[in-house]
Subunit: 212 residues, 2 copies
DNA sequence: AGGTTTATGCCACTCAGTGGCATAAGCTCC
DNA sequence: GGAGCTTATGCCACTGAGTGGCATAAACCT
């Protein structure tokens, strides 16, 4: 769980901040995984990183937040891509899929996947972390809707389809993540990409699926 | 915001418990709405209902929980119906829609809708309540999957479609709820039913929708 | 009425999260 | 290579959610 070397030429102060941030994230994931989320107090964590609790809260909004950072990076990239990527016409769901895959592709090849894995496994056994993650998804979804409205002229607020499509994307993402995080063997970012493709591909079938 | 009269012939003790429960829920919704969720302390609330804080936590798991009770009743009914209703063959999504509508139909015609309305509007401006609600949906969804597996022989754990279909149902529900809760004019349970139908109807279109 | 069960109240405690203010570390410009 | 500014950090005291333990009281059951 090594501290990421800050990317070269930043002012010293910024480099230090990055280092503390990374240290907090990694130590948190480590302690939460070993002793459980509730079994780790912020005082423990802060002591381990040699930082005051006051400082912790200048970096993160909550105890849950620190463990969610890697996943939040992905969604931030997603919103960013949605805002800036050249729009390809066609099915909205395909656009969303491509944008998410592009965002995923921008995540650091080194270390990111491992952290997200820990995050997910933690969330699965820590209700408050799960709740926090879901809330974050919800916020992101709303942000995405705003962008879609602006960039694609989907201005009718009573057209439910954009929102539904986004929620499907999120559903596919969660499916993929869960399959990926609880499968035995090594995990990689590419593996997640593949599962994400599968999940998206399963969407049409899930609408028409019949039973009994 | 009147206290619901306990349904006739229960032992006195049980009737009292029901009353305190209702009083806590209604007073909480009232105070949270007036003074905000964060602007109301549990001590305030408990003082208003004349109950000790210790007792509060014997009825509800958290401050958020008390304001979510009416919505949770709906989902409890949904799971119950999913477990017990005679299964009609056909599209899974239709089955889910019918089950949810049936559950909705079982909610008290009197007072329930008003409470859910307050709950939703509160959740919209209180992140921790929103998070709590989403987490509850997630738990319910997982419960529903288990039931689907048992009752409809959907045993393949790698078939993502049931989970996706359930998430679509939840998405439709959230859409409907939001439209319903933020629309001007009076609100009724039947109105919610109608909007729920609309939201479900929009699902196929949201999968195929194209842009730009 | 008398004994059992079960809900409630009270008290002391832990821990997440916040506000305010003093200090120290990094930055900037002469 | 300091003087002076800016910004991050530390410290302290505080609020409020949530919990455990134990004593009391209310409802239940002959």
């Amino acid at each position: 769980m090594s501290i990421v070397t800050p990317p070269a030429r930043l002012p010293l102060r910024e480099r230090k901040k990055l280092r503390t941030r990374e240290a907090l994230i990694d130590t948190a994931l480590e302690h939460f995984t070993d002793r459980g989320f509730d079994g780790t107090t912020l005082d423990d964590l802060c002591a381990a990183v040699e930082v005051s609790k006051r400082t912790f809260f200048r970096y993160f909004d909550s105890k849950e937040d620190v463990a969610m950072a890697p996943t939040q990076d992905l969604w931030a990239a997603f919103l960013d891509d949605l805002q800036t990527r050249r729009p390809t016409g066609g099915p909205l769901l395909t656009l969303l899929q491509d944008t998410l895959l592009a965002a995923l592709d921008r995540m650091p090849a080194e270390g990111w996947a491992e952290r997200v894995l820990l995050t997910r496994r933690l969330a699965a056994r820590t209700p408050s972390m799960n709740a926090h993650g879901l809330q974050f998804c919800d916020r992101t979804t709303r942000g995405a809707i705003t962008i879609l409205r602006e960039r694609f002229g989907l201005t009718d607020p009573h057209d439910l389809r954009p929102r539904l499509a986004l929620d499907m994307m999120v559903a596919a993402f969660h499916c993929a993540l869960e399959e990926w995080a609880f499968q035995p063997g090594p995990v990689s970012r590419d593996d997640l990409t593949a599962r994400l493709r599968d999940a998206f591909a399963a969407i049409p079938g899930s609408v028409t699926m019949t039973v009994a």
